[in-house]
């Protein structure tokens, strides 16, 4: 039993730690856990992000992407309908699509030239009736039974999601309490894709999500942000969660004078930094006040980034228990003028594989992986802010980690 704690705002006084205030280290590298995650999370009851509509605006447009570790193709048919198809030929399993993106009338497998329309229906099989009356498919072979496997699709304000689960609620219900934050970036305006980044990071995918759900680290790890006063512990912040804790939104507001009381424990705050080139930090307020930063984790596979004018979807693609890829789709709006595109491009220096802020994260989570893998019998402690799993209006909390742990354990049956 733990001694009772002195009362502090937001810190619960329950005496016994709930299971979700600790995270077993072997869950970051166990192959059996990884397989169960693929089945129960990515191929389970979840809407997985797959694409922006702006990436496939025209009939015939397609792009390759991933749902968990399964390759899929997102395609727009002649009638405008969007399908998400597993990239595996119904015949012998060849990944029929090898172009990352493009425009096509049909998909044809290179091995035996079976062809499919953009909704996954089998259109043609060479030598179906044999050659000179010999061989060929059985007379009762029904094309309808041999189409590509299709996922269920949901669209909201230009963002496309896919699911293996036929019982999914609407995407709006799925986003729940996070929907207003989601709609802040995706308000129905036409999007413009500015470019892609991809990173292969040597750690379990959950460490990346947890990094974004951990408001506690931001003002300690990110010295660049702190020294430029872009993010400090004394700035008004909040960590919002949906009703079952699977999605999170972290908000922060830049500016104001440094509060020495709130920042005295942060070594970096005592120094301030000035930039020789100021192009990187000339933001323009384009979203409703007061937040200048909103980072969202949408379960299970994306992080939505709005830091000043730098906007991106970061998609997680697991590559086994101890590696994942992070696919960044950087975007603006079709209505952006040249000055706004330039602003977003300059601010890109803060984010991505070479981001002056995000480098810290991709590096520290690799270090975390090296640690947890070597000590699989131990567990992480997430007790900042007590044991609660609710939204908070401060940053010295790990409630979003506990809520994710609670939800994860229920989905995984752990």
């Amino acid at each position: 039993m733990k001694p009772s704690l002195p009362a502090r705002a937001g810190v619960s006084v329950e005496l016994q730690a709930p299971p979700w205030s600790s995270i077993p280290y072997d869950w970051y590298s166990d192959p059996a856990i990884y397989q169960r995650e693929q089945e129960r999370i990515f191929r389970g009851h979840a809407w997985n992000y797959v694409a922006l509509e702006a990436e496939i605006p025209n009939a015939g447009d397609f792009k390759q992407t991933w749902v968990g570790d399964r390759p899929v193709v997102v395609a727009r048919a002649k009638d405008g309908e969007i399908s998400v198809l597993e990239n595996v030929c119904a015949h012998r399993g060849v990944a029929f699509c090898s172009q990352p993106h493009g425009n096509a009338k049909t998909f044809q497998c290179p091995y035996h030239q079976w062809s499919f329309d953009l909704k996954g229906n089998l259109l043609g099989v060479p030598f179906r009736k044999g050659i000179k009356g010999e061989g060929g498919l059985p007379a009762d072979f029904d094309f309808k039974d041999h189409g590509l496997n299709k996922l269920f699709v949901a669209q909201h304000n230009g963002v496309i999601f896919a699911s293996y689960d036929p019982t999914m609620e609407s995407i709006e219900d799925y986003l729940g309490e996070i929907l207003p934050y989601f709609d802040r970036m995706f308000d129905g305006r036409e999007l413009r894709v500015l470019g892609y980044w991809r990173q292969r990071i040597r750690c379990n995918w959950k460490l990346m999500i947890e990094n974004l759900r951990d408001p506690y680290h931001a003002t300690l790890l990110h010295v660049f942000l702190v020294q430029l006063s872009l993010n400090r512990a004394d700035q008004p912040s909040s960590a919002i969660l949906d009703r079952d804790g699977k999605h999170g939104a972290f908000t922060s507001r830049r500016g104001g004078e440094i509060d020495p009381e709130a920042t005295k424990e942060i070594a970096a705050a005592s120094k301030s930094l000035t930039l020789a080139g100021t192009q990187m930090l000339e933001p323009l307020h384009e979203f409703p006040p007061p937040h200048t930063l909103v980072m969202q984790t949408i379960w299970p596979n994306i992080i939505l980034q709005q830091n000043l004018n730098a906007l991106a979807v970061r998609q997680l693609v697991p590559r086994g228990p101890t590696e994942f890829e992070l696919h960044w789709t950087n975007f603006g709006y079709a209505s952006d003028d040249a000055a706004m595109i330039r602003r977003r491009t300059m601010q890109a220096n803060l984010m991505g594989p070479s981001g002056l802020v995000s480098i810290d994260d991709s590096e520290v989570i690799e270090m975390a992986q090296r640690g947890v893998q070597r000590f699989p019998e131990r567990a992480g402690v997430v007790e900042m802010g007590g044991f609660g799993t609710d939204s908070a209006e401060y940053t010295a909390t790990e409630a979003p980690l506990r809520s994710m742990q609670k939800y994860y354990r229920s989905v995984m049956g752990l």
Partner: protein
């Protein structure tokens, strides 16, 4: 032939400086030079969306300062191998040049690995009293699209 030798010397000195004397990196550029690192997938789609970009010496110095003082990353040694240096075009602005790069990365806690393969597409100009070559533009296009972990140092 003299031009070729001079260009080879420029590229060799550039690679050596990046690997071992990062503070000298801006010296290889004109004061207002444009430096960009772009993934091939973006370059081929006419989206010059940079993974890293600097406009002029100021932003280059900021990048060096961040690497030295504010960024947190596992220590590593990079090694540049530059080859295939050639002049694509001579214009009134200078020489449009191209070269291949191959960059190795060695971390303390991991084996050496091939970090990046790609090409430089540059604009080289003569500058200053000595009339030496400097980059007025440097575009580093990396072929593999996927950055292994993080891109800490310039290419």
């Amino acid at each position: 032939m003299e031009l070729k030798l001079e260009l080879l010397e420029l590229y060799d000195a550039y690679g050596a400086a990046l690997d071992d004397e990062l503070e000298r990196w801006p010296e290889f550029f004109t004061e207002d030079a444009l430096y960009r690192i772009v993934a091939r997938e973006n370059y081929e789609r006419n989206m010059l969306w940079p993974t890293m970009s600097c406009e002029g010496h100021g932003m280059m110095r900021d990048r060096i300062m961040a690497i030295r003082e504010t960024s947190m990353f596992a220590p590593r040694q990079m090694r540049h191998f530059v080859s295939g240096v050639r002049v694509l075009e001579e214009t009134s602005a200078g020489y449009r040049t191209q070269a291949n790069f191959l960059v190795g990365e060695s971390q303390v806690e991991a084996e050496s690995r091939l970090f990046a393969i790609g090409r430089y597409i540059d604009l080289v100009v003569r500058e200053g009293a000595s009339g030496g070559f400097r980059f007025a533009e440097k575009l580093c296009v990396y072929d593999g699209n996927v950055i292994l972990s993080s891109l800490i140092y310039p290419l």
